[in-house]
């Protein structure tokens, strides 16, 4: 992706949950390719809904939303799923792993749904080695962990597995939805740092969402959702 291009470009985007007033109304907003961006906002402000729109899980109702060069409002549901599988890695707040899969199976899961991510590896073994490398980089160095069910890991370890899963196959955009809320201050800063390093190494754009104002200074740029969201009511946010 061209470094001058925008990974996320929003104009006049509007979204409302059924039978509710609009939760999101964004006039203009963008995140550049390779940028490390922090989106701030309290719980219920519509952050997760915006992420669902950017990730293509929800379809825009009004306006334009361009992600990784694709206008999501013009894509079918299947095309949006494919865009997400090929270009986007997502880290959830908590309990964001498939509980019945092992650490390695969880990390490799996105490759199951994306030919593009699989094609980055010449052999299946390369894919496994990259998963091991990512886990090592993120602080999970014990090889015995790979085959362990994720439910046996601590919350901190699970967050690292989730980060490795989001970054496997070098996606263009990494979305992190409050991934540090369950961590203490030291681990939180260390995790953000690791995430940024990995994103920079792979050239990915990092969209980090949090309600923790203290983290804002760790990113290239930060903005509060309220600053860009021009709705009057925000009840019923997801």
């Amino acid at each position: 992706m061209n470094s001058n291009a925008m990974t996320i470009k929003i104009s006049d985007l509007e979204y409302a949950w059924p039978n509710q007033s609009p939760l999101l109304r964004l006039n203009a907003f963008s995140v550049a390719a390779g940028e490390s961006f922090c989106l701030l906002g309290p719980s219920g402000s519509g952050k997760s809904t915006l992420l669902s729109l950017i990730a293509g899980v929800l379809a825009p109702q009004k306006g334009q939303l361009e992600v990784c060069g694709k206008s999501l409002e013009t894509l079918s549901g299947r095309e949006r799923d494919q865009l997400r599988a090929d270009h986007i890695g997502i880290i959830f707040q908590m309990f964001n792993l498939v509980p019945y899969l092992s650490v390695l199976q969880n990390v490799l899961l996105p490759c199951r749904f994306s030919q593009r991510r699989r094609s980055r590896f010449e052999r299946p073994q390369d894919m496994i080695e990259d998963a091991e490398r990512l886990l090592r980089q993120l602080g999970l160095e014990d090889p015995a962990l790979l085959s362990r069910p994720v439910r046996d890991l601590s919350v901190g370890q699970q967050q690292r597995v989730a980060a490795a899963r989001a970054m496997i196959g070098a996606p263009d955009l990494i979305i992190a939805d409050e991934p540090t809320s369950a961590l203490d201050r030291d681990n939180r800063n260390r995790f953000v740092s690791l995430l940024q390093d990995e994103a920079k190494t792979s050239g990915a754009t990092l969209l980090f969402v949090t309600h923790d104002q203290d983290l804002a200074g760790l990113f290239d740029r930060s903005v509060t959702l309220d600053e860009i969201n021009h709705t009057t009511t925000q009840s019923g946010a997801a």
């Binding site: 992420l51 799923d81 997400r84 599988a85 509980p99 899969l101 199976q105 749904f113 994306s114 299946p124």
Partner: protein, 422 residues
Amino acid sequence: METSILGLAAASLRNRLVSATLTILAIALSVTLFLGVEKSRTAIRTSFDNTISGTELIVGAPTGATNLLLHAVFHIGTPQAELSWARYQDIAARPDIAWAAPVILGDSHRGFDVLATDQTYFDHYQFGRDRSLEFASGAAVSDIFDAVLGAKVAAELGYDIGTPLILSHGLESTGHTDHDDRPFKVVGILKPTGTPVDRTVHIGLEGLTAMHVGWETGSRHHLAHSITNEMIRSFDLTPDSVTAIFIGLKDKTTILQTRRALNTQRAEPVTAIIPGQALAQLWDLVGTFERLLIGVSIFVIAVGMTSILTSMLSSLNERRREMSVLRAVGAGPRHILMLLVSECGLLGLIGASTGVALTQILILIINPVLIATLGMELTGTAPGVTDFLTIVSVSVLALIIGLWPAWTATRNSIGDGLAVKL
């Protein structure tokens, strides 16, 4: 290491082991019931149909056709009366009859029926597709106290040529009713036939009469021991009566006339039956019951399939986060649909396969009981086309049923977005 949809489905089922196992068990039991009924029905019919061939008529004392068939051929039940020897001779002498083999039942040896007959029986009795009796070892009865064993009798009791055997009066040995003063000797062992013949001790008509010398009142006379076997040999050992007569005709097209002629004779009336026709009557009799059993077992399969639906639908709410995570890593609604449908298909496949295995185990368990009670066993019940079709049908049905929870999960996953608030 990369996980396929089927691998995900299998892992998901393992994660819900208790609920999945119970569902599989419900399907397995329902399939076992269905296959058990179907295999028993087919095997019993085949076994009965294969037991006798080449015998045009069976004649016995007046009774129902099914009763006579069951007693004379399958040694099930007891006769109400017997035919006199003179009547047997009259019938055997009829010009339209090619051969007539008298059989006398009523005694036993260690739970196996004793059948007294003559050489005609060995020459003409046929089973399966016109297969005749063959000796595995030894030869036919030639002496009064000779016995020829069916294959199972020899195998189960470990008897061989020359083994002495004591026959019992009546169908159960109580010790007091053993003909221990007239021991028989094994002179021949028949090859397996898969019919009640295998579980029968065959002796000559004279042997049966000799064995009962001193038993005219139904129990042993206190002086019976004083009559030696050598003395018996000089007696007239022609039996007084027979249980049934197996008949072959010179011209098979006269079968109905001969039967009518025999059935309408007033002097010592008899019942003459055509074995195939009597069997058809028997199947008519049990057909309604069979259809009812099959209906019930199909209904039980439907209940088993419902357990898949119950299990899957009840787990959907707690799995919304899992679906959301899968969507986040790139799974589309069709992947969610395929995952849930695959889980249902796997439950059906494993359940039905377990049911087939359980059926085989059950047959192994009930065969000895059937042999002991009915003198027959379920043969030809190895897994085959019926089992394969049952597995395929149940699996396909499970896949179709799976569309309901899968569709619900798909709709949920689209509506939930990336954030599931549970």
